[in-house]
Each structure stands twice: as C-alpha cells, then as structure tokens.
C-alpha cells in the first residue's frame, strides 16, 4: 500500500488548482465554481484518507519514521532549499480531520451563500476560490516536510483569512443582504486587525525559522530534530539563553498569533465579521489549528529547551494556554452575539490544546485539536444555520408587516428563543456539539479534554507540590465549568423559551445542503472521541505517539484513565450546563441578565472582554497616533511666533528688569524654551521623512557601506 503515499503532494494541490481554475476561468459560473471547489476538496479528502489508510497499514515503522518526498527547490551554492512533503502518524491523523471538515464546510457554504436564490451572494464564485485556497494552505502546512513549504502555507492562510474576514467589505450597503455601511466598515477593520495581529506572530515565526536555518543549515524538520542537531542548538548561547529556547519561543510567538492565544487573541472574535462558514473554517479546521499544529510539530525544540534552560519555553506554552483557556471561557459568559460566544469558546479551547502541549503531551493536545475541530465546526455551522433561519424569518416578518423594521441583528441571541421547534435538525446537531464541547460522556470532547486534565493531574500528583501542572489543572477544571455555563446560557437563549423577536417566530429550518453536513458532523462529535478512549487502549497514542519519541519529556504513553479527574470535570460540566440553562431559558428581552445580578461589576468587565482591546488602544495605538499628531502640531505652530516672541522678550529685558526675571527666566526659558526645544527636535526629525525615495536610498547605501566596512575590516 505504500504507493498510496505518492498521492500526498496531490492533497494540497487539488484545492490550489480549484482556486486557480475558479479565479482564472470559471468565475462567471457560480454553480460550476462551487462544484469545482467541492469536488477538489472531496478528492483531497479521498486521497488524504487513502494516505491515512496506508499509514495505518504501514505499521509502526511508517507511523514513526514516516514517508517523505524531497523536492529540491532552489540550489544555491552548496546548500539546497527543499520544498518537500512528508507523512507520519501525526500528519496522517491531521489528514483525517482537515480535508473532511473542510469538505463539510464547503458543502454547507453552498447553501449558506444561497446558491441559485435571488439574494445569492454577488461574489459567490470568489468566495469558493478563497476558501479553496485556504484549504490548500492548511493541507500544505500539514504535509510539509520543510519549513519553507510550511511557512509558505502559513502565509497563504494569513492572506486568505484577511480576504475572507473582509469578504463583505466590498459590498455597498444593501437591504437584500442586511448589510449596512457600519457592517462594511467593521468587516474592513476586522480583516485588517486579523492580518496585522497575526503578522506580529508571523514575523516572530519567520525570525525563528531564519535563526534555525542559520544555525543548522537546513530547513527540513526531521533533520532539525536529530539529537545531534538539537544538542548543538542547546550549546549555542543567544541573548543569555540557549539558542534552542530562543527559537522555540519565537516559533511559539508565531503560534500565539495564529492560534489566537493571549495576548494576541483579540483578532479572533472580530473575525466573526466574515461569513459564518469562514468562521467555521478558521476556528475548526484551518487557521487556528495551524498554530497548535506548529507547536506540536516543533515540540522537540521545546523539549530540548526544557532540558537545559531555567525558564523553559515549554512552561510558557502551558502558562499561556492556561491563561487563555480561563480568559476565553469567562469572556464567553457575557457575550450576546451567538458567534462571538463561540469565538471565545474557541480561544478557550485552543488554550486547552496549548496546555496539553505545554505539559509535554503531544497526543493530548492534538487529540483535543481533532475532536474540537469536529464539534466546533459543527457548532459554527449550526450557529450559521440559526442565523440563516432567523434572517429568513426576519425577511418573512418584514414582508408580512409591510414595514421595514429598525435594523435587525440576526446574530443577537437575545432576539432568538424557542428555536428547537422551528429548526429541529439544527437543534439536535447543536445540542450534540454543545455536549461535546462541554465534555459529557460519551461525546468526543469528554475524552480529549479529560485527557489533558488527567495529564496535568498526573504530573501534579507525581510531584506532589503545588507546581505548575496543578495550576494548569485548576485553570482547566474551572475553565470546563465556565464553558458549560456559557453553553447552557446559549442553549437557553437560542433554543428554549418563547421567541423574543418576530424574526425568531418566523424562523424556519435551513436547506438540506446545510443540515446534512450538520448531521454528519454531529455523528463525529458523538463518536470521534472513541479513537483515543482509554478503555479501548488509547489507539491514537499508538498511532501517533511515537513521532517525537526521541525526546523523553514527550509522553508517548497514555496517562491511565483517572476517575477522580473525570468525575470532577463531569460534575462541574453538568452543573454549569444546568445552571446556565435554568437561568436563561425563560429570559425576557429587556430584563437584567441573571449573571449580572450575580456577578455585578465583574460581569461588566467580562462583557467588555477585560478591556483588552481598550488597553491596546490606550497603550499601543493611542501613543502612536499621539506621536504622529504631536509632530504634526509642532509643525503647525512653529515657524514665526517664537521668533517674534524672542524679539519681544529682548525688548522687555531693557524696559523691565524685575519682570525680566519673572517672565523671561521663568516663562520664556523654562516654559516656552522647553516647548521650543521640543519644537526644534520635532522639526528637525520630521525632515527625515522627505518622501523622496532617493533620500531613503542614500540612507540605505550609507548603512550598507558602514555594515560592509565593519564586516570587512573589523
């Protein structure tokens, strides 16, 4: 069956081709375009599963050593930059999930973008081109053998997320699609925010890769992870730390940006401005998974850092993960937008994955990534279905009343209610997703979340003291409770109670192209957890656990099932779910929220997301804007006045000596003189921005000359 591996390069290629074909040729034919996109991802799925099959049959050798294909890309002197493909157990596990979830989302999008209906999205074909490229990026990332291809795919995803989050920024205000000017601007800003925020991470990642290349002379992952190479990296000292720690932290920086970890998580909730399938794609299968995948892939680097440094990068991963998990879960309690709740839930779940990886357990983190992909895609698609139905209901209601009601936000949960009767399939699927997310036996999320918590618990007990694993475990368990709480609230608001708005009363079930993916994903949310269920012998551990087996800190063996941990988290989850549901199922619009009653000011804090956006606004964005304005103002006020004032002051020196002391020394010198000093500085500095390219070039030339001189002669 090894011949199946040679299909690996084709897996990312098909969506890429679909992108090219749609953009170049079929962009005028909507149905054809979406069919091409779906067909290509379906082909990729088939191929990916074939590769998975080959890996399964290939036994331990293939699963650990892996298959690889080297594609020499740019021979440059003695080194050759490669662009290769590789498959091992880990990759194969990802290959099971990524294309399949993408396929479900693609099929769903066809319904969501209203193919063939009068209000079909005007840029329908383009949408499918973008998501195809997105999928190609993620698949390329997964099968990459070298950092070059990995980084290229990474950047493709960055671009696509920008394009897709801002997908509705090109629309004019438009009644048909419920789009107003403010939303267009929001979409634009959200796209920019996502792009710039993840860019911070990308720069870090790129510097990490560059450092790796400069120290090891190779970009091939497997060669980097050879014990000799890692040992060399451990001995080199950089910035007072071993180089390997620095590189690992840089790589983790990239993952923090992409996977929306604290403090770079701010872009993810705003990314909700894109169409809902995009949210599902970003949150489940592609974008945010990439960061976790990257950290998991690079785990040997982190481990190597663990062995030599005092404050190892691995701990940072766990700490950041724990913070993020709690942060996301608590913010999720206070949001009204159905998609935003899910977005914060994603952030929190990503925190769990990072926690798992930070504890050194590759399998726990990745297992949660896989299960999460299924149930989060399900939840998002379900949310999309709800929005779709409510929007439709709004449409119907507006027509029936013959009045155009005030602007209506179809995402607002407080305007929903009672939808379990109107949208039964969506409800059932959504319920399955919720149970999986909350972690109720036997849904997928239970097994994966439990494994992370068990891992932490196990490490804590092994040591005994109140060490890092203990705090991680505590954060995880608390997070699980909050997760259940906000999901209960959401269920109560959306599906129970009386309809709280005419739109909800007129909502109806979505078309089958949307419900079928929901049902399929619901099945996976129910059953997928068993691939690593402890009582089945944790098959996933055997499958992919050995990938990084060279390092000792990575736990290839499964932690034994711990009943205490499972019981605690399950009880908390059920309690949270019930509490949320009870408090909110009969909530009436206009009422004070039950949580607000209980939590008071804390609720406001949560509602405003801990003011992190505002903090960034104050601490980073404002000063920059202020500095610009400062320079600008100085410019305006400088030119003549101070001169006149100085002359006048000189006159006063002659006429009034007493006032001289007072006004000149105090006022002119100290007060205005200070101002003038700044004026002059600003004035002088602003000349550096001449806008003339040749001035800049001259600076470049001088710099290069200096560097060259330094390099050659000193």
């Amino acid at each position: 069956m090894d011949f199946l591996f040679s299909f690996t390069p084709l897996i990312p290629l098909f969506p890429l081709l679909a992108f090219a074909v749609i953009v170049l040729f079929t962009y005028r034919y909507n149905r054809l375009s979406s069919d091409i996109a779906i067909g290509s991802i379906a082909l990729s799925t088939v191929l990916a599963w074939a590769v998975l099959l080959a890996t399964l049959l290939g036994g331990e050798h293939i699963q650990v050593e892996g298959w690889q294909l080297r594609v020499p890309w740019l021979p440059a002197g003695t080194t050759v930059l490669d662009l290769g493909f590789a498959v091992d157990g880990f990759t194969a596990a990802m290959l099971f999930m990524v294309p399949f979830v993408c396929l479900m989302i693609f099929i769903y999008s066809q319904g969501y973008m209203k193919l063939g209906q009068p209000d079909q999205d005007p840029r329908y074909a383009r949408f499918f081109a973008y998501i195809s490229l997105f999928a190609a990026g993620m698949l390329g990332l997964v099968v990459a053998r070298d950092l070059v291809l990995l980084f290229v795919s990474w950047e493709i995803m960055g671009l696509c997320s920008y394009l897709l989050i801002g997908f509705w920024s090109f629309r004019k205000a438009d009644d048909e699609h419920h789009i107003d000017e403010a939303q267009v601007i929001r979409a634009r800003k959200a796209a920019l925010k996502a792009f710039i925020t993840t860019r911070i991470g990308d720069v870090l990642l790129f510097s990490g890769i560059a450092l790796l290349y400069s120290y090891t002379g190779t970009v091939t992952l497997r060669e980097i992870f050879r014990p000799e190479t890692l040992e060399t990296l451990q001995t080199i000292s950089l910035l007072g730390m071993p180089a390997v720690t620095v590189i690992a932290l840089l790589v983790f920086g990239g993952a923090v940006g992409k996977s929306a970890q604290f403090p770079l998580h701010v872009w993810l909730p705003d990314a909700m401005e894109g169409p809902t399938p995009v949210s599902a794609l970003i949150h489940a299968a592609t974008m945010v998974a990439a960061g976790v995948y990257l950290v998991a892939r690079m785990l040997p680097l982190f481990i190597a850092g663990f062995e030599v440094a005092d404050a190892p990068a691995l701990h940072w991963v766990a700490i950041v993960g724990a913070i993020t998990a709690l942060l996301g879960a608590t913010i999720g309690l206070a949001q009204d937008d159905i998609k935003r709740v899910l977005a914060y839930s994603t952030i929190s779940q990503l925190g769990y994955m990072m926690m798992g990886l930070g504890l050194g357990s590759l399998v726990a983190g990745i297992f949660h990534l896989l299960t999460h992909a299924f149930f989060k895609a399900l939840l998002f698609l379900g949310a999309g279905s709800v929005i779709h139905g409510v929007e439709h209901g709004h449409h119907v209601a507006a027509h029936a009343d013959h009045v155009h009601t005030e602007h209506f936000n179809p995402n607002d949960m407080k305007a929903m209610g009672g939808l379990r009767h109107r949208m039964p399939y969506t409800f059932v699927a959504y319920l399955a997703g919720t149970l999986a997310l909350v972690g109720i036996v036997p849904f997928a999320g239970f097994w994966s979340k439990d494994e992370i918590l068990a891992e932490a618990f196990h490490l804590w007990r092994a040591d005994g003291a109140l060490n890092l694993p203990f705090w991680v475990w505590l954060a995880g368990t608390l997070g699980a409770f909050f997760t259940a709480l906000y999901m209960g609230r959401q269920l109560g608001l959306v599906f129970w109670g009386e309809p709280r708005h005419t739109a909800a009363r007129h909502a109806h079930e979505s078309p089958s192209s949307m419900t079928i993916p929901l049902i399929v994903l619901a099945l996976f949310a129910l059953l997928f957890g068993f691939v690593n269920a402890p009582f089945l012998g944790s098959p996933l551990h055997h499958f992919m656990g050995g990938v990084h087996e060279a390092s000792e800190v990575v736990h290839a063996e499964a932690v034994p099932f711990n009943f205490t941990v499972a019981a605690i988290s399950t009880v908390l989850a059920v309690a949270g779910l019930l509490l949320g549901w009870l408090l909110y199922r009969n909530y009436r619009p206009g009422q004070v929220e039950p949580f607000q009653v209980v939590l008071g000011p804390v609720f406001t804090l949560l509602r405003n997301k801990y003011y992190i956006d505002e903090l960034y606004q104050q601490v980073i964005i404002r000063p920059v804007v202020w500095l610009s304005n400062f320079c600008f103002n100085i410019d305006d006020r400088w030119i003549i006045d101070p001169f006149v004032d100085l002359v006048g002051a000189a006159g006063r020196v002659a006429s009034d000596i007493v006032r001289v002391l007072d006004s000149v020394v105090v006022d002119r010198w100290f007060v205005e003189g200070t101002a003038q000093l700044f004026n002059a500085a600003g004035r002088g500095l602003r000349y550096s921005e001449t806008g003339r390219v040749q001035n800049y070039l001259l600076v470049v030339a001088v710099t290069i000359l200096l560097l060259l001189g330094l390099y050659l002669y000193f």
Binding site: V71, P72, W73, L74, P75, L83, R692, Q694, N695, L698, A701, V702, I704, L705, L708, G709, L712
Partner: protein, 184 residues
Amino acid sequence: MAIEQALQIFVFVILTLMTLGGGLAVVTSRNLFHAALSLILSLAGVVGYYVLLDAGFLAIVQLLIYIGAISILILFSIMLTRGLMTPRQVQRNEQWWIAALVVFLTFVVLIVALWQMVWPIADDEALRTPNVAISQLGEALVGPYAIPFEIISVLLLVALVGAIVLARETENNQGSHAEAGSSE
C-alpha cells in the same frame, strides 16, 4: 599565444573604456536620451566582456534582452514622457555630492576587499576549457534549476500583465465607456 594575450588585453581595455565611459555618461549626461544611448554603449561593452569570458550564449542573450528589449523600452518611455525634459534641465538632485562621496567610499571598500582576498581560482586546465555547450545550459535550466526557471517565467508574465494594467489605466476607462456606448 602572446598575440592572443595581447589582443585580449587590448580588447579588455577598449571594452572597459566603453563600459565605464558609457556608464559615466549614463549618470552624468544632462540629456536623458543621450544617457539612454550611453547605457546601450555600456551594455555593449558588457556583451564584449561576456565574449571575453567565454560566455558566448550570455553575450547574445545580453544583446537580445538588454539592447534589443530593455533599451528600446527605455528610449520609448523617454519619448513618451519627453514633454518635460528640456535637455538643459538640471539632472542631478541636491544630495548628489553626498551620493558621490558614499559611492566613492563604497568603491574603495570593495576594491580593497577584492584585492586583499585570495580567491579559490580553479586549476589551469579547467580554466582553459570552460566551453559550455548551450545544450548543457538548456538542460540545466529545465533540470536542477527548473523551478526557479519557471518562477522567472511566471515573474515575467506577471510583470507583463502588470505593466499593461498600470500603463493603460486611463485608456481602460475610455474603453469601457465606448463599450457602454455601443451596447445602448
């Protein structure tokens, strides 16, 4: 062999005069058209260099692309934007003396480095017979260097399309107007 050596040096000196003289004329000439023609002279000198260095194919490619395509393109654009260029216009900006200083220093730094360096020159036998058949070059381009080669092709295509889009923006509007008019 003495004659050949003498000839080579003679030719080298002449080519250097062409190349560097032409180059100086390119950067100092007040008349831009003359500057472009001097560029051709300079590039022709480089063609000669390639011949001297036994890179015949490169010489011809240089002739074809630099003189045949790029220079013509530059001459064309000079004519298209020529309304502004009275030949007597000052052609250098205020920072030229700093530039000259920096450039001179760069040159000195490079030269000193070049002459201090000991180059790993190949042994004499290999030096005498470097004749590379064009077919070898072609095979290299579609063999080990195939991917960069393709990338260059794509780059050229993109440049071509981009140049067309950039340069005919205004015409495009007129064109769409004309279409709109005709369809009514």
